[in-house]
Symmetry: C2
Subunit: 192 residues, 2 copies
Amino acid sequence: MTRPGGRSARVREAVLAATYAELVEHGYLGLTVENVATRAGVHKTTVYRRWATIDVLIADALDQARGTDWPVPDTGTLEGDLIAIADEVVQAFTDPAQRAVPEAIVTAALHSERAREAKRDFYTARHTQAAEVVTRAIARGEVPEDTDPVELVRLTCAPLYYRIFITGEPLDHDTARRSARAALAAARAGAV
Amino acid sequence: MTRPGGRSARVREAVLAATYAELVEHGYLGLTVENVATRAGVHKTTVYRRWATIDVLIADALDQARGTDWPVPDTGTLEGDLIAIADEVVQAFTDPAQRAVPEAIVTAALHSERAREAKRDFYTARHTQAAEVVTRAIARGEVPEDTDPVELVRLTCAPLYYRIFITGEPLDHDTARRSARAALAAARAGAV
């Protein structure tokens, strides 16, 4: 009798959990297939067979994250929803455990096609989910009908990621609110 | 008799030029102090003495870029100037030679304090220069007096960097124009 998922799914679970933990402790440059195998309690050839490189490990960890539930905010107003989305980004990147994988994937994607695809698929999925708050707001008449829902989500998040990866400036709730409000103002003016 | 700059400056010039070339060819993960020394025609101990790690090399290359002239656009309108700034980002990241250092610094900054500081200083300098287009526009009455000039520059560039490093979506002149116009609309609405 095989349990749902079976051994293969349990190995993936253990290996990806170990990948997260190693990334949190050592970062991208300190990640090795050997250490992941040791931490996961599996033989390193088992890891190599399925995840040939650390970029594949990171990409698979992001694929797994993409599949987890992400609650789309529903505060009743578009402003509230966009601020909630922005706050979620701020919280994720101020938690070392949560930010480990997105930080690593940015590096991995610069030189691995597999990682680049995982990153693109992850953000496409999240944007599509989050865009629901804009679609609802269009129905309520809060922003013009021809507003591009995904572009409004991008504009809300972009200034936060710009601070995280580019300028290195600190993030807080005020930064989140400011980003969301600027994006919303652009949308109301018909520029999104 | 010593020439201006002297041997030390010539070595730095050769080593940083070699760093650029190596980054363009091999990327961050393929960069080694040895290969930089060979390409620059200097002994590797000379490089190690002054630039202990590849992160220090990359940080110094960015410091050098910060010191080069960057022509602030002056098209006569804020919209034209912001589009010109956005276009410059698009051009830089579609040219493999130009994008090599900013791409590498993002990775280097994730685990090197020296690289993090170089990145922060570079973008602070560029933002301060670019903010001049907003200061002029405030004087012309194009945007409210309390518009934050640096924040408007950030909002113009952020959606482009978001595509480059996060979603991996393509960039072109339309993306640049769209980013600039959304940022400007937010500013006109008093949200920047």
